[in-house]
Symmetry: C2
Subunit: 398 residues, 2 copies
């Protein structure tokens, strides 16, 4: 993975020599029961695209739900075809013998509502107008995703997940699950997440949105109807996100001040370009060709709006008093957007609410992106925890 | 100042009850001797705009040069008119009885070459074309500024500065002075600076430049000729800079998650806006009406390119072996773009080069911007050091 993933570094060490889930094909389901959204609007029907890995056992007790982050999607593991250059975004952690062991679990990974990878979202057709939803797509909150995921669980016959797992924005969904459907999950794994964003995090998201909306090709969000695309704005937005998901040390290790072209020779009148510059531009361009700007705005807003304890009198202990599952919290030392301090706050609130919780702080130079990357200690802790989840489930059956 | 400066916080406490330099008027001088630039090109003539505060003494030994940072200019202290709402950008630290005491020193503050506040730069007319220089203005390095500042010293009859002082990019100029003109300064005050930028810093600057150059109104830098202005791109660039010059805690203290409009009430279908969002937009808009985009690109490139020890075999000890002045280094605990670690590196190199240096790490929640803001300990240390500079100068005369 380290040769394919541009953010992997020397730190990346893996002891995993186990297999892949192999070739996978996305599934799709149209839900025709109207969904009441937190904003007050109602989605009459919607489609969710998802993938599953492993087999659902006879009593349907081994389901694991994967909740994706900002720019994620349903394709978490395996490959769609033999020529696929890259596996799913969490392939390192999902598969036979891997921490989320598909020999033991039935893993479900979906593209969230509002996404741009097949589930109903801003790029879908608004039945009322026959045109793309665009900016008219309803504003979503994390809880809306959780409710739509619960419908997917119903569809699959899963009354209770063995675990709901997510990193970053995915961790927010996992926590919301524990409060909205306390009886429907036995474990909640929250990685590199927070109970709410800080002003600095909101500020970065706002700047990214401004980059998109101030691109003249944004056309107030109606770019698809007008056959335009605010590519430049989305590229800048992605660059902002990308820098902040990495750490200072991680970037220093990978790029330092290496030049890509030009020279600092006195008198050499050529433009100097650092490696980090062309890398960032590449990241921005690639992303802007594969992601929908309105979706990026919708997802970052959901991140900003999330506030776990808002309706519990701003008291996270009161909020978590409703939880019935066990928790694993993981944070990474160099993650400055979802710092370990944020995970410790969650852990403290859970402890005060008498909810069983394990917390691991993982040494890493890879910043927020560490949750996606190989890391021996992270893998070890994650694997050990999930093995216990699998064993408990067997014991329950005995 | 704290009511006028939006970044000042509760932390801001000042014991300074001393006066202002009062009304000041910028001066301007056209230098007609060609200036050889590091890039190899030659500027045939150029104008520098500057202000002076205090009186030059008879032996011209009390001159202090202020070097400005990225978006700074010559107007560092006092007011241009009785109705001026704000004083110069460093008014808190320059004036009678203030750390840079204008009762003792003759303070010189200029707009750097390439600037957009009156000195020759991209908005000036290119004599070769009769049109604005725009993107054809030569690429500048920190040393070019130092050389042009030396010409200004010649003009004013100042053979040796009592001190050269700068924060951030200004600190880079001060350090370069100590190597290029070791006999022409007795003290070098380097605040919140670094010997070179990290990959993360370059990445933020690159993203800001991308925001500007990808604005269709940028027109490859020829916007002035075409009567356009890439305002939106510059606003996004400023937003990126602004967030990173503040600290996470500083933003949290000032804005937290306070709402400006909208509501999180379930079912309330209104757009939610946080205070931090409108604040950032305001900062971006204000800046984009007062700063030149090509200048912003030029200044951020000079920041990226600066590497104090590059031509000394990448050995800062070898570089500083040439310095003949004393140093004061100051850094702020919450500054994550020019972290205390960077100032400690400078201090260590100076010590190993047997150059006298004092280093102070100031507790502050205000991030990089702390160097501009009131802070009692910062003021105290700065004042004490500068008083010693003034006394030494008197002793020298005896």
């Amino acid at each position: 993975m380290s040769t394919e993933n541009p953010t992997a570094s020397r730190e990346a060490q893996s002891t995993v020599t186990t297999g892949s889930v192999g070739l996978v094909a996305p599934k799709s389901h149209r839900f025709s029961e109207p969904l009441q959204l937190a904003c007050g609007r109602i989605l009459q029907d919607y489609t969710l695209v998802y993938e599953t890995y492993g087999e659902l056992n006879s009593d349907k007790s081994n389901g694991v739900l994967i909740c994706h982050a900002l720019s994620g999607h349903h394709h978490a593991a395996g490959r769609h075809g033999p020529d696929d250059k890259r596996p799913g975004w969490w392939d390192h952690y999902i598969g036979p013998g891997k921490p989320i062991d598909t020999d033991k679990f039935f893993v479900v990974s979906l593209n969230n509502l509002g996404g741009c990878h097949g589930s109903t979202g801003p790029v879908s057709t608004n039945p009322a107008s026959g045109k793309p939803w665009g900016p008219d797509f309803p504003s979503l909150r994390v809880r809306d995703w959780v409710h739509s995921q619960a419908r997917l669980a119903d569809l699959l016959g899963i009354e209770q997940w063995a675990a709901v797992i997510g990193g970053s924005l995915g961790g927010m969904q996992a926590m919301r699950w524990s409060l909205e459907y306390p009886e429907r999950l036995r474990h909640c794994v929250v990685i590199a997440s927070a109970m709410k964003l800080s002003a600095q995090n909101i500020a970065f998201n706002e700047t990214a949105r401004q980059a998109i909306t101030s691109d003249p090709d944004f056309c107030e969000g109606r770019y698809l109807e007008l056959n335009k695309l605010p590519r430049r704005g989305l590229a800048v937005a992605r660059m902002i996100g990308h820098i902040t998901y990495l750490s200072d040390h991680g970037l220093a290790n990978k790029f330092g001040r290496e030049l890509r072209s030009g020279s600092f020779q006195q008198g050499a009148d050529e433009e100097v370009e650092f490696q980090i510059q062309s890398y960032l531009r590449y990241q921005g361009d690639t992303f802007s060709n594969s992601f929908d700007p309105n979706t990026y705005i919708l997802m970052t807003r959901a991140l900003d709006y999330f506030d776990l304890a808002r309706e519990y009198g701003d008291d996270p202990v009161a909020a978590f008093a409703n939880a019935r599952c066990r928790f694993l919290l993981i944070a990474f030392t160099s993650d400055w957007r979802f710092a370990p301090e944020r995970s410790r706050e969650i852990t403290d609130a859970l402890m005060h609410a008498n909810v069983p919780v394990s917390y691991a702080e993982i040494e890493s130079a890879m910043g927020h992106d560490a949750f996606l990357l190989p890391n021996e200690r992270y893998e070890g802790i994650f694997r050990t925890y999930m093995q216990r989840v699998a064993v408990e489930q067997l014991e329950d059956r005995d």
